[in-house]
């Protein structure tokens, strides 16, 4: 590999030049080896954030991150694979019903997930609320479970894209998370290294998401779809609303319970709608659009796959879920219609109640979170319960309540209410 110098590469991006393939390969490799220091990579990350990257640069950066580690290979499985990634939202428990549902339709779902940081929850944190369930699987265990059950949700090993792991931790503390080239390459390097045959991206838009507006969400979606196609992965993205939180719960155990309701054929309409929309995209990507996932919810086979998936990872799907020690009810201050429920306000409240973590070493509370008893468009009566706040530590209520202030509006009952679509757009 030709030798470069960190300052040369930083200065090139600072001065708005395109980085060469050789510069990108060198800097990603040298950073992974420790030959480029954290303070050099963070300065480069800020220059990338402010000056951007071309499609070619992003593709090469992604390839360099994939090359920093191992790649998985699911080609020996007897069925096709499909994976889904969400950019993160409040109450976004979709992976929980989705993975067993798609498995029940005959497509294997290898879902390598992360833990939550900040106001959006983490899929592993949610599943760990189930007594006995473990997130860490060896590659052999994962392959065996994909063959037998068809669905795995587990922690990504250290071997996949280690450059991304190191860079993500750095971006988190240096104000450089919000760079579309780096978000896209971070997500896609892991998904491509994971070796899935097809991928559906759920790109969230709104107050509770990274991307606050549709234009930047579309740019991120288009960037990731192009990266997937270049790497030979069938990739589709849905832009979905995250101005309002999903379902009726944000937390860990309470989101598991809501997911089980969906698998049992019930659950909030928006969670069901998004689960089915993503399932249909995954099935189409895997060449199985002959199957209607709604049938598998109705006939109980998705629930069977869920229970098998939980049991395969030592969890007890029938055990009672942990409950928070303390609860606090917020009642509606007026009668009318709930006109707005802000995803960020709810996510922050759940986080402050203990459902999420401030630093990656922090534990989370299985029982903590927020339940909302009305969704936008629902009629509410003065004095009825509007939110139930759950935590093990009563002292957390005060700051959680503060974050809910101004986070919802009640309009007169006769005010016009215009529902916003859940699926805003599709990028393929």
């Amino acid at each position: 590999m030709p030798d470069h110098d960190a300052v040369e590469v930083i200065a090139a991006k600072r001065d708005r030049h395109e980085l060469s393939d050789s510069q990108i390969d060198w800097v990603v490799d040298a950073y992974t080896r420790g030959a480029v220091a954290d303070e050099q990579m963070s300065s480069l990350a800020m220059a990338i954030l402010l000056n951007g990257m071309s499609r070619r640069e992003i593709a090469r950066w992604t390839a360099a991150m994939i090359a920093s580690g191992e790649r998985m290979d699911f080609s020996s499985l007897s069925r096709p694979t499909a994976d889904k990634h969400s950019t993160g939202g409040v109450g976004d428990k979709i992976t929980l019903p989705l993975a067993p549902l798609v498995a029940a339709c005959g497509v294997a779902v290898p879902q390598l997930s992360g833990r939550g940081l900040g106001h959006t929850g983490g899929t592993l944190d949610k599943l760990e609320a189930i007594p006995g369930w473990r997130a860490a699987l060896s590659n052999d265990e994962m392959m065996a479970q994909l063959e037998s059950v068809g669905a795995v949700v587990c922690a990504a090993g250290d071997g996949l894209a280690p450059a991304d792991k190191k860079l993500y931790a750095l971006r988190d503390v240096t104000g450089t998370v919000e760079a579309i080239p780096l978000i896209a390459s971070s997500i896609m390097s892991k998904k491509i290294a994971e070796g899935t045959g097809s991928l559906v991206l759920d790109v969230k838009v709104g107050t509770g998401a990274f991307m606050k507006d549709v234009d930047s969400a579309r740019e991120l979606a288009e960037t990731m779809v192009a990266l997937g196609k270049d790497a030979g992965v069938h990739t589709v993205a849905l832009l979905t609303d995250m101005a309002t939180p999903l379902g009726r719960t944000a937390g860990n155990a309470i989101e598991v319970a809501e997911s089980v309701e969906v698998l049992a054929g019930g659950g909030p309409a928006d969670v069901v709608e998004l689960t089915l929309a993503l399932a249909r995209e995954m099935l189409a990507g895997a060449g199985r659009d002959d199957v209607d996932p709604a049938d598998r919810l109705a006939d109980g086979s998705a629930m069977d796959a869920w229970k098998a998936m939980i049991r395969a990872q030592d969890g007890d799907p029938d055990a009672p879920l942990p409950e928070a020690r303390e609860s606090h009810v917020v009642t509606a201050p007026a009668s009318g219609v709930l006109a707005r429920l802000d995803a960020m306000a709810v996510g922050l409240a759940a986080w402050r109640l203990g459902a999420g973590r401030a630093r990656k070493e922090d534990p989370v509370q299985a029982g903590a979170g927020v339940v909302w008893h009305a969704r936008p468009g629902d009629a509410v009566t003065e004095g009825q319960p509007l939110f139930t706040l759950l935590t093990d530590d009563a002292h957390r209520f005060e700051r959680a309540l503060a974050s809910l202030e101004g986070g919802y509006d009640i309009a007169p009952a006769d005010a016009p209410y215009l529902p916003t679509p859940l699926v805003i757009d599709r990028v393929s």
Copy 2:
């Protein structure tokens, strides 16, 4: 001090907001204490480089860097003080004749200097070519020498603006040196902390300088003059040419020898011109514009002050200077007029011969450097010596010669030659 968070401060500058006084005070203090990490400060530095800072932000940043350390006080001296700072150029030995010259005119010159890094030389490296001379003085020694001799050139202690020291080392390896707000605050924090009554800035413009064009040099000059005025320091800046190297030598011992020629009443015309121009500004700033420094060069009193200054720091001004072991002469490839001599090419050649250092731990060679035997506008004859290259290591000639290639033009003898002014502008 109110508590802030590094990511909050970085994100504010990243998103093009002005930083508050409180954010600036906090981040500079926290970085000095180690509570803000290098990778956070480098990301912030890149955001400052790309998004800029207002005059208010720069002034506050400078004040915060001054507050990170001690301040000196020359008010007990029996004469006024004046200081000079050059942004760095090739063959820029002006401090050497200037400090004793101004002292000979009755104004004290406390010149805290640095070592060279890269292609521009360092004043301390040059003086260390004089047998016995030492750069490190205690504050008491410095005050005593200012009172007795009137001029001191010595190393800045660790106590002045330690935040700047730490930040400068970080910027050097993170591609963030070229930020005008950070260059201006770095220079001015040290000069204001040093406590001089008046200050003259020599802002270099051209290929051999940091600032390649007049507009950016003027912006830097105006920023620094405003910072000085705000801090109560009488400050003037001259923009001077650095497309052509100064004098006839770039190195250490050879620049000392050239400086002594100037003090003896001779020397290259451009070195004499710039020395007198800066001396006049320093004298005016200190309220002594009744004195003509040209008289003090002519009557030998500047030379007396030089010898006293060198002796006070244990140097022997009459000892022979070190000479390089190897030399190589480059002859003129054609007859005509030297139309261009590039400062960067000459600076790089001197650096590669061993006159400068690549890393701050490296030693320099006292005898190494480049002598040029013609200046732009001079007639040259094919085969006459054009450059003499000096080094202790003959293997260095090859790379030094490579850097001189394309670094000069010889035009036909009858081609029109338009000299460029040495002093381009004055900012006050």
